[in-house]
Each structure stands twice: as C-alpha cells, then as structure tokens.
Symmetry: C2
Subunit: 365 residues, 2 copies
C-alpha cells in the first residue's frame, strides 16, 4: 500500500509552470534543428533490449514482454535508436541524412548530479559523414539551439576520444602498460605511474589540455602522425568558428565518450554545473556488419528548466459568465489566455488572472 501521491524514487510530477517550460524548450530546440534541415523521427520508448545500441545496458529498466516473451527495455538514450533507423528504414535515403528527435529516456537510478530517473532528451544526428564540415555544423547547431533557448555563458569542452588508441596504433610506445592502463592513467593524470611503466611518451598529453588555442599549440609540439595533425587542424577551425563561446580541449578525456571516435564535446552554460548536452563523431553499425560515420549531439532539456528557461509570460484574463464566445476568441487571438468563470463568485486572483473582461474592456483585477 503506497501513500497516495507518493512516487517512486527518482520520478516526479512536473507541475506548472515547469511542465510548460519543458514543452516550450523542446519546441524551441527542435524548431532550431528543423530550420537547419533536420527531420524529426520518433522511435518507440521500448524496444528489444538487444537492439538498443547506445546507453549502458546496466542502466536500463528491463522487463519481459508478455506478448513476445522477450526482454524489452525502456530506452536510456535515443541516439542509438536514431542510428538504427538511419541504417535500416532510411538506409536508401541520400546522405548526409539529417535527423532530429525529442523524447523521454529512463534509467534504473539517478546519479550524483541528477537524481532523476526520467529525463527529456533532444538532439540531432547527421549520418553519412563525420568530417570537419559536419562537425562544425553540428557543434554550431547545438550552440545555436541552446542560445535560442536562452542559455548564456556557453562553453564547450572538446575531447579526442580515440587519440590515445590511435597514437598507440601509430607506434607510440606503451612500455610495460596496456592501452587500457595508459588510458586510465591519463584519465587520472598520473604522471608518475605512466613514467614508471615506460609510457613516458604519453605524459605530455596531460599538459596539453586547457583553452583550445593553447592546447592545440602544445599538441603540435609533439611528434604526431599526419592523420592526427589533420584532426587538430579541424579542431582548431572548429574552435575558431565558435564566436563568443569559450572552448577548451582535453585531448585524452574519454569519460562518457566510449562510443565516440575522433571528436567529442560537452556543452555547458552559466548557472549549471552539470553539462547541458554532449555529442561527437561515432560509427553506426549497419545490419551487414559495416559501419557508417555519423556525428550528433544530445541536449538534456531538464537542465534548461532548472536554469529557469522556457517560462512563458502569461496574460490571463477572467471572462465573466455569459461572455460571448466571439469576444473570448478575439481575446485569445490577441494573445490573452482566457479563463471562463463557471460561477459568479470565484475571483480573478484565485484563478491567477491579472485582468477581468468587463464591458468590452480588459480591466486590471
């Protein structure tokens, strides 16, 4: 027996005005993506767990489907579903294929930054290219969407998720360490351990992090393969193209970028410690075993609500009993929210109305 109104841990009712703010922000973010040619898809909330490619399987809510007797899961991320659509139902469409989405995601439990188990995710994915032009488009689109939603003090953290693996593959000596060990030691910025294991070559990467222009200069000092130098050029152009946005580069950061390839990014705004969104380049697995390059981003809309964004100014007017329907419609046409009285007693204040409609005039209540 549950207490009426009590919700399970990590789940909540969104009330006015936050629920409207969330809807309004989703509208703004998807409108911006739509205006840039991204077309909306809406995958289902639940799928066979085995076909949900993105998000950690440990964080998914699972159950047995009474119909198919198979394990279904509530999605904890939408990116993988969009990729699945791109390489199956939309496999024949010309590339680049630009898709966008907004919807809810669920997870078994919240984390330190956010206790919520149900969140709203919006995003855009470009499938068929992960080159510099696509990266610039997506990063600028993410920033335009957040700026249009009202976010100020935008900053971007760039990372190169496959850099360490690529350098090792190009011959940088790992010493007595494994690749995974070197990556973990770089994550922990553990210079001593890297040196004692003979992976000294990777140590300078730790210092080459910070504001993008300086970090790029520091990286260029190192003996990098041409392919990596080309990526650095792309990242330098990317950073230079983001007017008024603070850009940092942490080349070895991989946390949360396990699926990304040459580029990852996190988006932050003034007033919120948690990231507002993230994205990067990745590969979509095709049914035939090959992979298709892609790049995209996800935005976490609840964080924008927490910032107080998306709240619409409301002009509410109380319509006394018997107000003609045409007058009410005309007021709504002028942008008023009309609240019809059901009796002669209830006042404007109780119904959150600033005005009353009297003798054909909007009179302050």
């Amino acid at each position: 027996m549950n207490i009426p109104g009590l919700l399970p841990e990590g789940l909540r009712d969104s009330l006015p005005p936050q629920a409207q703010a969330l809807a309004s922000l989703v509208r703004t973010l998807t409108d911006v993506c739509g205006a840039h040619g991204y077309e909306r898809v809406a995958p289902p909330l639940i799928e066979y767990e085995s076909s949900l490619a993105s998000g950690s399987s440990r964080e998914r809510l699972r159950f047995t489907d009474p119909v198919s007797q198979q394990t279904l899961a509530l999605r904890s991320d939408i990116t993988g579903q969009v990729g699945r659509i791109a390489v199956t139902r939309l496999a024949q469409q010309a590339r680049p294929l630009r898709l966008m989405y907004a919807g809810q995601v669920l997870r078994v439990r919240g984390d330190q930054l956010s206790p919520e188990r149900e969140r709203t995710q919006a995003g855009a994915e470009l499938i068929g290219s992960d080159g510099p032009a696509a990266a610039a488009e997506l990063l600028q689109l993410a920033i335009a969407a957040l700026a249009t939603a009202g976010v100020t003090g935008l900053s971007v953290d760039l990372t190169m998720p496959t850099l360490v693996a690529d350098l090792a593959a190009a011959g940088w000596p790992l010493g007595r360490a494994s690749l995974a060990q070197v990556q973990a030691l770089l994550d922990g910025k553990d210079v001593g351990a890297l040196k004692s294991l003979g992976a000294d070559a990777f140590v300078p990467l730790i210092a080459a992090a910070g504001p993008a222009p300086a970090a790029i200069i520091a990286l260029r000092q190192l003996d990098l393969p041409d392919a990596i130098l080309a990526r650095l050029d792309a990242i330098a152009a990317l950073a230079a193209g983001l007017d008024g946005v603070a850009v940092t580069l942490d080349p070895t950061e991989r946390h949360g970028f396990e699926y990304q390839t040459w580029l990852g990014f996190s988006l932050f705004g003034a007033g919120l410690a948690a990231e507002l969104g993230r994205g990067g380049a990745y590969l979509v697995p095709r049914p035939d075993g090959t992979q298709e390059p892609a790049i995209g981003f996800s935005l976490y809309v609840d964080g924008l609500v927490d910032l107080g964004l998306g709240v619409e100014l409301q002009r509410r007017i109380l319509l006394p009993l018997g107000t003609p329907a045409a007058e009410a419609a005309a007021l709504r046409g002028e942008g008023w929210i009309t609240v019809a009285a059901l009796d002669a007693e209830t006042g404007a204040a109780a119904l959150h109305c600033s005005h009353i409609w009297q003798s054909g005039q909007a009179v302050p209540a």
Copy 2:
C-alpha cells in the same frame, strides 16, 4: 538474436514527415488548451502500479523496480495521473483547477482498431466542478482543439453512464434481473430478455437513442426523476451549443465509460472509424477517502496523424559550401529550412530541397 531494425509487435518508429506531424499536432492541441487557461502538467511515464488509478490494470506493462523492489507500471492512461496531481500536490489550489497534458501511453497489446502499443494522448481536465457549465466548456474545448488541428466532419456521441443505475436507485423496477444484468441487456439492446425478466421499464431507453434533440424528446416522455430531467436539460443545452457538430445521444451506452458519471462523450471526425477522443464527468478519489468532481477529455493524436493532419509545408533550400552564416540565418528568418552542403557534389534533389541559394537568390533546383 533479433534482426536489426525489427521492433517488438505493436511498436514502431515514427519517420518523417509523420513524426513531425505528430509533434505539430500535439503543439496545436496543447496550445488551444493553454489559451483557454489550462496549465500543463507532466506526470512520469512510470509509477507504482497501485497508484495508477485510470486505465485497466490488465492492459498495463509491469515490472519490478530494481531500486524499490515494488511493482511499477507504464501508464496506459494519463487522466488518472492528472487527478492524482490535482488532489495531492495541487490540493490547495483554488477550484476550478484547469490542467492539461500531452504524453505517451503504453499498453500490453493493441486492439482491433489499433495494433499500436505506444500512443500519444493529449487532454484537458477541469477539477472541482462537473456541472453543466464545466461540461459545456470541456466539450467545446475538445471540439475547438480538433477543429484547429484540421479535423472536419466532427461529431459527438453523448452518453449518460450512470443513468441506468440512477434510475434503479430511484425505484425503477429491475424485476428478477440484477442491475448489472439490465445494463448488459441494454448494451445488447435485448428487448426480449429485459421483458422476460420483468425489467420492462427500461426497454423504452433503447429506442430513446439517436440524434440528440429527438432522443431527448423521447426520454422526456418517460417518468424520470427530477435530477435526471435536470441532466437532460444540461445535455440539451450542451448539444444546442455545438454549432455545426452532429450530436447523438445513446443514454445507456457505458462501454469504456466505467469511470464516468452523469455524462460521457466520444468524438469522431470525417475519414476515421476510430474515435478521436473521449471524455466525460468523473470523480477523483482524494487521499482522505472523499471524492472531487471533475470533467475532462483525452484526444488520441495518432489518429489525427493517420488522417494526414499536422503535416507542415516545408520550403527547403540548399546552401552551397561557404554560404555566409548571416545569409543562412536570414533565410531561416524568412521561413526557409536551410540545408548546408557538406561537399560540392550532393545535389538539391537528394537532400529534398526545392531551391538552391545562388548569388544571393533562391533559385528553383
């Protein structure tokens, strides 16, 4: 092992342009409700199963919460959640309390009219009154929302879900039948069985169904208690207030109106056999055991998409490589959807663009 891209029975990917049509229709429907003073709430997709008041428990997808070890369920209806919010978190707000919502609902399996297990529901609820004025407001609002969304040929089927029980309570003789038997026989329009069981009094109700004015005249011929006559007056006024909408009354129809009280209604439009929405008066259970009167409606947005509504006219223009950002922004400001070329090869047609931006002009592609 599932075939990539295969979804469980009853679940589907919504693709362009249908996914955008659905989003656009939700926007239209909730905008209309919002303009009438209904404030948005967004309850969670999953709750303790024991607190989900509306919708049949047999049709809910259930699972054990790994966190609380309790049974959670995906909602199959949102009305009950809105009622829960009204009598708990918003219990102190003045009445009438006007709330609206839009979101997804899920069920174990589809039905004959619709195989879908995931659908989008939008609706409005007025809590604190279920009188004639509230009923008129909600029914007109539902019709205005559907008409604004583009539905034509609107019709409304009215019903009086508690009529038979109320007449029995007022002394109409059930003969040797139980109330449930009489209700079932009325549903089956089984005149013979009603007579043979001695429930003759209820037989004339069967004929008193059809276009509202005639049905109301037929009902007035019967020996009805004053309370029922007052409801008939309200229903007559309701029907008269719906200009250009065909209104029928089937006073004993109860199927799907198990939770409704004196009034239920179903909404239909041209081109679709399935109902577009339904609603009625009901009682919200308060935590203290009392009940609060309410009236509301739910709209099934997927049906509107099936009717081809909500599709937005798109003017897409291809921007060649190197188009200045300011020109692109200006085009979007004029209502164009801009699609940036990532290379010099991909043509306008492949990217579904009707125009190309050339020398400062939109040129047909």
